[in-house]
């Protein structure tokens, strides 16, 4: 295995000191001269016709510069089906529908003005569950589609289906069968920095927007389309991404509040800032998609899986955003976690009058792995096979192709399972007399990009200056996950300079090359692969020029060295003849000839060589641009087939819990996580990703739920919506990284940002079952649900 200089070594993140000093600037900290503050008027009804909007009082309020509604501003469509508009005209379909917006000289005036806007509604019957909305004769939430064609039901026109092998044959071959319905709630991403933007037009009607986004280049396309809708044809958007304050999927959408800020900025001719307050973030930003999954699996007498059948029902909410594409990711574990050859997967999405949903870490995978790994545990117990052995029997292997067509390169799942079993003392009996139990669950996730768009690429520009510094321009978003840390290490390693000579420039669509977006755990994989390509190109350029300039500079060096060391006799080494491009190497910012004697004058500082290249007749400055597009395929999700990622990440997590049968409280005693990460790039940053994802998984498993009553979010604050604190995370977490050195991975690495969340809930649920023999099938597993299940269990035992 290759020895690395910087990769795999503990290196503090380059962005950490400024963050520790309070110097990092988030959208909340930015101001523009003459800036106005925007505020949105949201709906008071989940489903109603808008009869009249009276904004006259708001318009007259001192300090108000503009009030916009659908009646006085152009229609701007959003969402990939175009079924949503920034400002609603005839109808509201959810509580968070945007009806009007105000720009004022300060936030208080904007808030006061919004309260002065009066809206008359004609309430319509609301539909708050997919089952209800699917019923024949239910009122239509969308009477027409985006093209104006009439609709006849509330089904979302999207198909996610997979069928492989022979399901009936698989059922016949099954000796044991387990069936269950599992559900997951809507969950808020809870970025500590809330959503917001500043929109500003120049006098050529081009837009600059400071946006909290994970997709600056797709957002540029979306906003340019909006400009066109506003009559500003061929005008351009420049997007600048400040420090994010957490992303977790919230930045994959372009949001109505952004389009509203754009409309207000254009109307007023001044910069307009909209930032959500925490209660707005909870109630008006799209949360994680909920799910209902019916799953049946069967195995033969040896515990080998013979079939898997899955039906997913999704409450789509009122409009279509990325939440509607969760089934494209659910398919991944459904078809490719464990070896099973007869599979049926189908998903149905239904419009309701609930909030619509967007991406959150894991994106359908936690939802499906929850069902699959709970059900696998049930099946193993049904078959009388130890749940760990069951997983080993059905374990994925390297070099296999899964039913969805995933070409597995490396696969460390078996090692992950073994590690968790060992660290969790799996075979050791639970302590008698205490309600303690152990559980585990595994995962597969994309680890080599995820092609969900025509291009899955990531561009990188490296620009060298006279001092040997490397300026990097990359389109990926540092949202806290540590992208800049690994990109810095990747460039330093591949180019041969010290990490402190690498500068990652702020993300700006006008200077950085295109990147599809920072999602699907792809940031490090893409950026470091691009870094390797760019570094190789740059090294080629440097070494070619060094053929002429290295001897010249070495000669000067030698002269000086001789002056300082009289009588010095240089070793016999013809550095003029040896100065061939293939003989050069660059390490730690010094360029030298491989195999040359270790004389100090025979090693040149990169900056010195670059100056020699620059300051001569027809001198040059060196830079390079690369565009890395991984070897993966855009799947056909209606057929459920395609190698979506260049490589796949695997992992297993285990939990030991103690259940209090009096209160229903679950105490996590310890957790173990083993992940096939390909290669560790930065150990501390990697641990931080797993710890953090695991904590989100614990909230998902035990208490997080965005509750709504008739479509209205009723817990829009941290008092009523609990996320893990330092107290809840008070148990040992044992992490183990399996290095499979993937050939597609940069330095062997796979993506790891999401996996820590994915199997956490089922691992805990399986441990709860092991402890007290109950299975709660809808998340979160609250004390009330545990007590109710214990009561039922007691009753059934008589």
């Amino acid at each position: 295995m290759k020895n690395f200089h910087y990769i795999g070594k503990e290196t503090p993140r380059p962005d950490a000191p400024d963050k520790a000093a309070g110097k990092a600037l988030y959208i909340h900290d930015l101001e523009r001269p003459g800036m106005l503050y925007g505020k949105i008027k949201f709906s008071n009804h989940p489903h109603a016709r808008i009869k009249h909007i009276d904004a006259s009082k708001a318009e007259r309020l001192n300090g108000v510069r503009a009030v916009i509604t659908a009646n006085n501003s152009p229609e701007v469509r959003l969402g990939f089906l175009g079924d949503n508009v920034a400002l609603k005209k005839d109808k509201v379909r959810q509580y968070r529908d945007e009806i009007a917006a105000v720009a004022a000289i300060d936030p208080d005036t904007a808030e006061e003005a919004v309260e002065l806007i009066k809206v008359e509604y004609e309430p319509l019957p609301g539909l708050f569950s997919p089952q209800e909305a699917m019923k024949k004769g239910s009122p239509l939430i969308h009477e027409t589609d985006a093209q104006g064609r009439p609709r006849t039901d509330n089904l979302v026109p999207l198909r996610y289906r997979h069928q492989s092998g022979d399901l009936d044959a698989g059922k016949r071959a099954a000796k044991y069968v387990a069936e269950g319905e599992f559900s997951t709630p809507r969950v808020q991403q809870c970025c500590m920095g809330t959503a917001g933007c500043i929109a500003e037009f120049d006098m050529n009607s081009n837009l600059t927007i400071w946006a909290k986004t994970q997709i600056p280049f797709l957002a540029q396309r979306d906003f340019n389309r909006a400009l066109s809708d506003m009559g500003l044809r061929d005008k351009n958007t420049r997007i600048i991404v400040p420090a994010l304050g957490g992303g977790f999927g919230t930045g994959l959408d372009t949001h109505a509040y952004e389009y509203i800020a754009i409309l207000l900025a254009y109307k007023t001719g001044r910069p307009v800032k909209i930032v959500y307050a925490r209660d707005e973030e909870f109630a008006y930003l799209s949360p994680r998609q909920s799910s209902i999954t019916k799953i049946t699996q069967g195995c033969d007498q040896n515990g080998r899986l013979t079939f898997r059948e899955v039906e997913v029902l999704q409450d789509n909410g009122a409009y279509t955003s990325w939440g509607a594409t969760y089934p494209s990711v659910m398919m991944m574990p459904a078809t490719s976690l464990y070896r099973v050859s007869n599979i049926y997967f189908n998903a149905k999405l239904v419009y309701t009058n609930n909030t619509f949903c967007q991406a959150m870490r894991g994106y359908g995978n936690p939802e499906h792995t929850w069902a699959l790994e709970s059900n696998s545990d049930e099946l193993a117990r049904e078959a009388g096979v130890d749940p760990y052995e069951f997983r080993i029997i059905n374990c994925n292997k390297p070099k296999e192709t899964t039913p969805m067509g995933f070409k597995v390169s490396t696969c460390g799942l078996k090692e992950c399972l073994q590690t968790v079993a060992k660290k969790l003392d799996w075979k050791k009996q639970n302590k008698k007399g205490k309600c303690r139990g152990k559980g585990m669950a595994s995962l597969v996730h994309v680890g080599g990009g995820g092609r969900i768009y025509r291009s899955d690429a990531s561009g990188l520009i490296l620009k060298l200056d006279d001092f040997g510094n490397v300026n990097a321009y990359h389109g990926g978003v540092e949202m806290g996950q540590g992208l800049h840390s690994v990109l810095t290490l990747g460039i330093a390693e591949a180019l041969g300079v010290r990490p402190d000579k690498v500068f990652i420039n702020p993300l700006d669509t006008s200077t950085c090359p295109w990147d599809v977006g920072t999602h699907a755990s792809r940031g490090a994989f893409m950026a470091c692969n691009a870094a390797i390509l760019a570094a190789n190109k740059l090294r080629g350029k440097i070494f070619k020029l060094a053929e002429e300039l290295f001897p010249q500079e070495a000669e000067k060096n030698l002269k000086k060295y001789r002056k300082k060391n009289p009588g010095y006799k240089p070793p016999a080494f013809d550095f003029v003849k040896e100065a061939k491009k293939e003989r050069f190497d660059l390490k730690d910012g010094s360029i030298f000839i491989k195999g040359a004697p270790p004389e100090p004058w025979l090693s040149l500082d990169l900056g010195r060589l670059l100056r020699a290249i620059h300051f001569r007749t027809q001198g040059q400055m060196l830079a390079t641009e690369v565009f890395y597009d991984p070897p993966n395929e855009l799947p056909d999700f209606a057929k459920g087939f395609g190698n979506i990622s260049a490589t796949y990440a695997y992992g297993t997590q285990g939990a030991e819990v103690e259940v209090d049968t009096e209160t229903g409280e679950v105490k996590i005693l310890r957790m173990v996580a083993a992940h096939d990460v390909g290669k560790v790039l930065n150990p501390r940053a990697l641990k931080g990703q797993i710890y953090g994802a695991l904590a989100q998984g614990i909230g998902y498993a035990l208490y997080e739920e965005l509750q709504s009553e008739k479509g209205k979010i009723v817990n829009p604050n941290f008092r009523d919506y609990k996320i893990p604190t330092a107290q809840e995370m008070n148990f040992p977490i044992d992490l183990e990284f399996i290095e499979t050195n993937d050939s597609f991975g940069p330095f062997g690495a796979k993506g790891v940002a999401e996996p820590g969340l994915v199997p956490t809930a089922p691992a805990i649920a399986n441990a709860i079952y092991d402890a007290v023999g109950i299975r709660v099938r809808d998340l979160p597993i609250t004390p009330e649900k545990i007590l109710s299940a214990l009561k039922k269990l007691k009753a059934s035992k008589g």
């Binding site: 520790a20 000093a21 500590m192 920095g193 304050g245 941290f718 604190t725």
Partner: protein
Amino acid sequence: MKAEISFILNGSEVNVTIDGHLRLIDILRNTMSLTGTKEGCGEGECGACTVIVDGRAVNSCLYPAHEIEGKSVTTIEGLRMPEHKLSEIQQAFVDNGAIQCGFCTPGMIMSAKALLDSNPNPSDEEIRDALQGNLCRCTGYVQIVEAVKSVAGQIMGKK
């Protein structure tokens, strides 16, 4: 209702004119341009706005500005050492990987600082207790607790 107040901010006396309903965080972020103090919820639930007032960690989003008269306030900007160096606790957060998105970091560091000032050698339990009002969505708190412990250890070592 305008009023003139004076207080010590990061070691220097300052005088500001305030409107009745302003909060301490408004003075810090808007009047004094000290944007290191973050507003995460405005309701005292997340701790991102934590500053130290007369030695005690407080949520500056709940703290009425007029009550700061005559008191001493330390914000994240006040922890930085001379010659552009981070303080011990800030450096410990950097070195231990305790920082991801960084939005909770200033508040988290201020809570840790207030703890260590009053209890230089806290137990694991005391650290978690002191930080439980500071929410972090990125780290799972593991490396944050390690960072605080590492400083406690250093202080112990110096004894």
